[in-house]
Symmetry: C2
Subunit: 322 residues, 2 copies
């Protein structure tokens, strides 16, 4: 069996939604090997159908529990749901120090749900690419909705969130000084605001804060006809979950009807090319840092030359600029 | 007056510690203009003397208040302290929605303290470079200690934190489920763990959790002779603050005596060159994305070609690879 046959059959199996093939393809999405990535290249054109929903908020804001609630509600309508967890503090992640993976148990046995968590520790870059390739795999495999869960701080995390069609930002009452989550820099990317854990006594204050911020024009994406809603949900009582699912759907319809989906998809494509280009350059440098460009690194270490000058020299030495 | 004279005189003024010159140079650190960056290139060789301390932890973990306490304690010994706030939720940041900038008032009027906050929103990359260049400016201007405050999640933020000689990770009791901050992926980069807000009743549990994680080998950098300490501090009572300042100093002595400082500085230099190279490539692409490579972006948008293939085409088109 030659290589291209293997590649073709793996892709075929992914397109049929075979779980093991999807998992294998996802391990390629996190790989830096060219012969692994070629698989993702072939898959790319089959994606583009799913509704990609970003779910973001600081640790403790209840987004993992909310992801679970949304998924259960979507499953009642027969939709297939993929979850990409980029947040290392997520119970979806392998980390699961406190064993809270258990809480997700009822999703893990449902063949209409596919959960994949991405390691974010220690990796220098490549995270956005891996996350969006993983979403593409679920998309190409016929999953209707792909939830990408990220911790809403950090440039890579915000880039990933904005690569979704619909961005949900979660805040929780009682987290730090109430408005902490709001200040963390993700307000502006929200299409829908959720105050999770709304059964808590101080939820009203968080709702009020968010609405006030929206009225000040500080809490949603500008230049859109979409009025960013604030909705309270509770995993305890189930309040608000179905409303949220309806809002997510309404937002997608709005994007399609207004033509905004076109513009967003264009921006996402550009961002992905940019990230891939950065990855290529970084990997070329890391591969060659031993002999070829080691002395340049050393001069920077000794503060004989500055990092920018060194970077130009490195790019030239590696034939990356003329 | 020609350009090189201006450059020289600005640098001279920075080296003398003139506040306005420093502020101007810092605006260049956040700029993408070549004629601005050249100033940072000339400054680089004058830095490398300060003790750079990273202070990281999720929003609400008390790191800004701790930064203030550390700074006040260091000022009593006559040391000059620079603060680079990369966290958009920090009260040091211009954001200061709730006016908590006021709390920092007593630092703002002290000429031995220089505070600079960096905008992290919306920028696609360049954050690590700007933060470390800003630290260099304080360093070259003769500040003894530079505190870099980052929210401890996100790849860029973790890269910035690990570019410090000493990394302090803050956790706070009562934040989410207590161990939330621990799970967010910054445990491994800590040289010193701080449980802030130790006057709170549930602080003991957080201390216990952290010590347990350390004993499991999960909560500190490996391969070091340095035993990562866990220390409780309270901004209310002042408890632990002087001990922490002493520990920070001890860690720096350890780095110097063990030779680890050499290894860390080498790694930091490499990381900075890598980031600069990525910045160059990204900027080249963004500058030319109109006519030259617009059609390539468009093909990705239409899913005719995948992002990685497109990135290779773009790099070639812009003469960035042979």
């Amino acid at each position: 069996m030659n290589f291209s046959q293997t590649a073709e059959s793996l892709l075929d199996r992914v397109l049929k939604g075979e779980t093991r093939a999807m998992a294998r393809m996802m391990s390629f999405a996190e790989s830096s090997r060219d012969d692994h990535r070629v698989h993702l290249g072939s898959l790319y054109k089959y994606a583009g159908h799913a509704h990609v929903v970003g779910l973001t908020g600081v640790p403790g804001s209840g987004k993992s529990t909310l992801a679970r609630c949304i998924t259960l509600a979507l499953r009642e309508t027969g939709k297939r749901v993929g979850i990409v967890a980029v947040d290392p503090s997520s119970p979806f992640s392998g980390g699961a120090i406190l064993g809270d993976r258990v809480r997700m148990g009822d999703l893990a046995t449902d063949s209409g749900v596919f959960i994949r968590s991405l390691a974010t520790r220690g990796s220098l870059g490549g995270l956005a690419r891996a996350a969006l390739d993983t979403a593409d795999i679920m998309d190409a495999a016929g999953f209707d909705i792909v939830l990408i869960e990220t911790v809403g701080v950090g440039q890579d995390e915000i880039d990933i969130a904005t690569a979704a069609h619909t961005v949900i930002v979660t805040s929780a009452p009682g987290l730090g000084d109430g408005i902490q989550a709001i200040k963390a820099g993700v307000l502006e990317i929200a299409d829908v605001h959720v105050v999770a854990k709304s059964d808590r006594p101080d939820a009203e204050r968080t709702l009020g804060d968010l609405n006030a911020m929206l009225n000040l024009g500080l809490a949603g994406r500008g230049l859109s006809e979409w009025a960013v809603p604030v909705i309270a949900t509770s995993a305890e009582t189930g309040d608000g979950v179905y409303d949220l699912v309806r809002l997510i759907d309404e937002h997608f319809s709005h994007l399609k009807q207004s033509g905004e989906l076109f513009a967003r998809r264009k921006k996402i494509a550009e961002m992905r090319v940019l990230k891939a280009a950065e990855d290529i350059v970084r990997e070329r440098i890391q591969l060659n840092c031993g002999d070829e460009i080691g002395p340049i690194f050393n001069d920077v270490f000794q503060r004989k030359i500055d990092p920018l000058t060194a970077a130009k020299m490195v790019l030239k030495r590696l034939n990356l600029v003329e």
